[in-house]
Every structure is written in structure tokens, then in C-alpha cells.
């Protein structure tokens, strides 16, 4: 028996709040960063979309374990598609970074309740993985830029092949998500 609470982890409430507030701030600001990248790539923006995104992001920050995040991604994608016409703009990497931060911070916010203090190892691991995703986006942009320079044939065969590949990937992801045992 000990006379004081000595054996438990002695991190104060403030430590827990720092992690929770940081994640929710990122959820709130990263869609705005994506809007900024869109504006820089297209030199114009749609204010109404910005307002909708702020409201949706606030709702996502309040309820990170909801499907509202999907709506935010769809809205950002539609805005990008409608306003940006430069297919190789480097700002696409900025928008991808913003989307990656948004997804990662929302997912991290669902790991534990805001009252639970995060450990340093958890923070390091999440940041490390986020950097890997961002690096993947940059790699995709390099590939897209290189391929676009050669003006590939916009044939229907390539489109069909791409769609088939996406369908197979979708089925694989569905099986891995729904079934108890993931595909080997």
C-alpha cells in the first residue's frame, strides 16, 4: 500500500487537452488550407464553398468519429475539379497534404477520448506515417507530371483498363474491410 498516488501515470489534464485541442484545430484548419491551395492553383475561388467547408469542418471537429469527413473531401474535390484546370500544378501536392492532415487528425481524434493524454511515442508514430503519406502524394505528382509531359494517348482502352483496375482495387478493399480475415 502506498500513501500517495505514486504508481499511476502522473500526466496532468493539461497534457491531454494539448493533444485533443491540437487534433481538433488541425481538423478545423486543414480544409481551409486545401481551399487556399485551390485558390493559388486557380487564381479564383468560390466563397460559398469556403463557408460550407468551415461549417462542415467545425462539425467534424466536434464529432470526429462520424462520416461528415467524407463530405468535406467530396466538396474539396468538386471545388478542385471545377476551378483548377492546370493538370500538373504543384499546388495539388499542397491540397493533398491538407487532405492527408485532415484525414489523419480526424482518425487520430477517434483513438481515445479528449481526456486521455497522448504519449510521445503515439505522436511520433502518427506524424511519421503522415509524412509517408505526404511523400507518396509528392511521388504521385512527380509521376503525373512526367507522364503528362509525354502526352499519353487518351484512348478509351486506357480508361477502361484504369476503371477495371479501380474496380479490382475496390473489391479488394471491400473484402478486406468487411470480412473477418483480410485477403492474403
Amino acid at each position: 500500500m502506498s500513501d500517495q498516488l505514486t504508481s499511476g501515470p502522473s500526466r496532468p489534464w493539461g497534457h491531454a487537452l494539448v493533444a485533443a485541442v491540437t487534433m481538433r484545430t488541425l481538423v478545423l484548419t486543414s480544409p481551409l488550407l486545401a481551399v487556399g491551395c485551390t485558390w493559388l492553383a486557380a487564381h479564383r475561388t468560390m466563397p460559398a464553398v469556403g463557408i460550407v467547408l468551415v461549417l462542415l469542418a467545425a462539425a467534424c471537429a466536434a464529432r470526429p468519429d462520424s462520416h461528415l469527413g467524407l463530405l468535406v473531401v467530396v466538396v474539396i474535390g468538386i471545388q478542385w475539379l471545377a476551378t483548377v484546370h492546370n493538370r500538373t500544378t504543384p499546388w495539388s501536392v499542397g491540397a493533398a497534404v491538407a487532405l492527408a492532415v485532415f484525414h489523419a487528425s480526424m482518425a487520430a481524434a477517434t483513438v481515445a477520448s479528449p481526456a486521455a493524454p497522448w504519449t510521445r511515442a503515439m505522436c511520433r508514430r502518427w506524424v511519421r506515417r503522415l509524412v509517408i503519406l505526404i511523400a507518396g502524394s509528392a511521388g504521385t505528382w512527380l509521376i503525373v507530371s512526367a507522364v503528362n509531359r509525354h502526352r499519353p494517348a487518351s484512348g478509351s482502352v486506357l480508361v477502361v483498363a484504369s476503371l477495371v483496375a479501380l474496380a479490382i482495387a475496390g473489391l479488394w478493399a471491400r473484402d478486406g474491410t468487411i470480412r473477418a480475415h483480410p485477403p492474403e
Partner: protein
């Protein structure tokens, strides 16, 4: 595998899969390769989560470092997590506790990275702030895989632990010699001379004296046989009668102001500890919402623990309890009965009078807190309390006139004066004729 033990996809995983697919399909159909750049983070997170999806539930085991502590002391609740596949990333725990416990972290919630931190930090400090039986748990455990893509939540609500907070005995000692008791085995000196260890005198030999008691030097000097006489040793039999039917005042726990039940339980623990340490037999009679609970007299540390365990179960009666004022069975004449009660109802004092009339030495310890919060906002409540207080004073005075001592609990030496008086007037008590 039960459905509750399955790993389930989260909203984060659904977002990653659907966002990746939608953006990629749009990229292909609209011939916009830049959309693939936007889809990449989601595709990466989705593939990562699916590839590292755990298939079997982690094994968890909860434990408490101690099953019993004294109130005010702390112990640690721990969770051990065994992940056979090594695919669990983060483990979050939320521990439920009852009233009168403090936790560290304050909210009873911790989260760790199972792979990097191990499960060592999955520990929550528990400090009990009042005696009693406290339920610790069940803990809600949530484990997540890579990218929080899949989540497993423990479904067992039965895995709670009981933590017994023994009353922290008040400081108490008594230097008074024992009151008249009938037994002849023990560590206390009896008023009678008989077989014992403590020297009394050297007296002439009488028929029946043992030969080994002959004091040869004195016998040779005087020419007649003399023997060494000793004081008999005897046991003291103390009965603690705790009236827990009502709890007057608001308890502030071990660090705050005590209620009447706090005073009674802690005082009973202190008296029991004192008499057990001197080798006396201590019995306990607890009167609470369940009725009478008896612990027969015995000695030793084990018995003291048993007494404290029973005291920790005391709960006041929420509804009106039909207290008939009868004395409990098993009280032997000559025992010293220490009754601890807030004397909230006349039945308690009536019981003390009845016990005294049955030849028992009764000492009543008044456990009413010195400063009970007076509700002055409601004049009717204040008036009724005042009336009851006056009635109580009159009842105590009347009981005092019958020879039963009523003292307030003041900690060390509380009972010395009264026990000294009882010793002075000790004699064979005669059962009163009804």
C-alpha cells in the same frame, strides 16, 4: 469469435476507402491525373489499414495491486494487453469507479501505443477517500489498428474488481485497568488471587495449595510452610456495538468533516485495535440496514482485520428501520459493551438500558459530529432539529442517572475517565428484576 470481440471498420477507414475510390474514378473519367494526387493519401491509408488489419481479439487482464487498503491510501489498477499478432497500434482505457475514489489521471482515462510504450503505462492510481467496499471497473478498453482503420472494444462488463477500504482507525489508547470480567485466562490481572504469573504475596500454606508453590526460604525461616501466591490472569471481553442505522451529518471523506457513521466506524476500529493489541477478546455487533451482524469474540491481528472488514460494510438504513431495541444474543454477563451511536433515536439508549439491566457493563460513545450543519434556510427544519436536540439531551441525562456513562468521542483517552470510574465501582452486577 463472438460478434462483440470482432474488429470493426471505423468511420476513418470508410472515409479513406471511399475518398480514394471516388477521387480516382473522377480522375479517370474526367481525365484529370491531378485528382490522383489528391486521392493518394486516402489510398495509402486505406491499403495500409487493410494490410495490417488484426484478425484476433487481444487478450486483456485487469488487476488491482491490493484488494484492501486503509481509507486515504492508494493502490494501482493495471491492465495487461496481449496482442498475439502485434498489429494493435493504440489502446485506450476508460475506468469506471464509484463514489469516494480519486483517480490519477483525474478522469481515469489513459491511452498508449502498445508497440512503442508497451502496456506498462496502462495503470491508473486509485485512492479511496472513505471506508467501504468500492467497485473498481469495469474498464472500457478500445484497441485500434493502423490509421485507426479498425477498432476492437471490450464487451465484458463483469470484469470489475472490489477494493475494500478499511476504516482508518482514529488514534486511541486507554491506560485504565480492566473492568470486572469473569474469565481467568488472559494477559490482564484479575482482582482475585489464583494461578497466574504476577506475584501477589507470600502467605501460609492452605489445604489445596500446590507443592511447587511452597516458598522454601520463608518456610525454613519461620518453621511453618509458606507458599507464593499470584494474581490470576484473565481475558477482557469487549463487545463493540455499532449503531449504523442512521448517518447524521455529511461525510467529507477521510480528508473532510466526518459524519456520525464515520466517527462510529473509525472509533470502533480504534477501540478494537487497542484491545486486540493488548490480547483481549473483542466482539462486534453491527446494526445497519441489513439488521444485526455479529462477529464472535476473538483476538489477534487476523481477527482485527475481520472486524475492520465487517465495519467497512456498514450502510445506514435508507428507510425507517423497525428497531425493536432488543439486545443481541451472545452477550455474556460481565462483558464490557461499548456502544457507538449518534443517539438519533430513543431506541439506541433504550437498548443500552436493557443491556445494563441484563448485567452487562455498558458504555455509550456519542458519535454525533460536533458541528452538524444546521439548515437555517428552513425555519421549520431548524425548529424540529432544535426540539429533537433538546429531547436527546433529556434522554442522555436520564440514562446517565441510571448509571450508564455516555461520553463523546474525542480520540485518545476518550474512555479513560469513564473506564476508571467503572473499575472503581466494579462489582458483581446483578440482573435487574423486571
Amino acid at each position: 469469435m463472438k460478434s462483440a470481440d470482432r474488429w470493426r471498420p471505423t468511420a476513418a477507414h470508410a472515409r479513406a476507402v471511399l475518398s480514394a475510390l471516388v477521387l480516382a474514378v473522377v480522375a479517370v473519367l474526367a481525365r484529370r491525373p491531378d485528382m490522383l494526387v489528391l486521392a493518394t493519401p486516402f489510398a495509402g491509408a486505406a491499403v495500409w489499414a487493410v494490410l495490417l488489419r488484426p484478425t484476433c481479439a487481444p487478450e486483456i487482464r485487469q488487476s488491482l495491486d491490493h484488494s484492501a487498503v486503509h481509507e486515504g491510501e492508494a493502490t494501482t489498477w493495471r491492465l495487461c494487453v496481449h496482442d498475439p499478432e502485434g498489429r494493435v497500434d493504440d489502446v485506450a482505457v476508460a475506468l469506471n469507479t464509484t463514489e469516494w475514489t480519486e483517480q490519477l489521471p483525474v478522469d481515469g482515462q489513459v491511452v498508449v501505443s502498445l508497440r512503442d510504450d508497451s502496456d506498462q503505462p496502462l495503470a491508473i492510481g486509485i485512492r479511496t477517500t472513505r471506508w467501504g467496499h468500492h467497485r473498481i471497473g469495469p474498464a472500457r478498453v478500445a484497441a485500434t489498428s493502423a490509421w485507426a482503420g479498425f477498432r476492437w472494444v471490450s464487451g465484458s462488463a463483469a470484469d470489475a474488481r472490489m477494493l475494500v477500504a478499511l476504516p482508518q482507525p482514529s488514534r486511541f489508547d486507554a491506560s485504565t485497568p480492566p473492568v470486572h470480567t469473569p474469565g481467568l485466562v488472559g494477559v490482564n490481572r484479575s482482582p482475585q488471587q489464583n494461578n497466574g504469573t504476577e506475584f501477589a504475596s507470600i502467605r501460609p500454606f492452605q489445604t489445596g495449595d500446590r507443592l511447587r508453590r511452597i516458598h522454601w526460604p520463608q518456610s525454613l525461616r519461620t518453621g511453618t510452610l509458606h507458599v507464593t501466591s499470584t494474581w490470576a490472569d484473565h481475558d477482557r471481553h469487549v463487545v463493540l456495538f455499532v449503531d449504523a442505522l442512521s448517518d447524521v451529518g455529511e461525510s467529507g471523506g477521510v480528508d473532510g468533516r466526518p459524519s456520525s457513521l464515520d466517527i462510529a466506524v473509525r472509533a470502533a476500529g480504534a477501540i478494537a485495535e487497542h484491545y486486540v493489541s493488548t490480547g483481549d477478546g473483542v466482539a462486534l455487533v453491527l446494526l445497519d440496514h441489513r439488521g444485526l451482524h455479529r462477529v464472535p469474540p476473538a483476538t489477534g491481528r487476523r481477527h482485527l482485520r475481520r472486524l475492520l472488514d465487517v465495519l467497512a460494510t456498514a450502510r445506514p438504513a435508507r428507510n425507517r428501520f423497525d428497531d425493536d431495541g432488543r439486545i443481541p444474543r451472545g452477550l455474556t454477563p460481565g462483558a464490557l459493551v461499548v456502544m457507538l451511536s449518534p443517539l438519533a433515536s430513543p431506541a439506541a439508549l433504550q437498548r443500552a438500558v436493557t443491556m445494563a439491566n441484563h448485567g452487562l457493563t455498558v458504555l455509550v460513545v456519542d458519535c454525533l459530529p460536533p458541528e452538524v450543519v444546521d439548515d437555517r434556510r428552513d425555519p421549520h427544519v431548524a425548529l424540529s432539529r432544535r426540539i429533537r436536540s433538546l429531547e436527546r439531551e433529556r434522554e442522555v441525562r436520564r440514562v446517565g442517572q441510571t448509571g450508564i456513562a455516555v461520553v463523546s468521542w474525542r480520540g485518545p483517552g476518550s474512555l479513560d475517565e469513564v473506564l476508571r470510574d467503572l473499575k472503581r465501582h466494579a462489582g458483581p452486577r446483578i440482573r435487574a428484576r423486571s
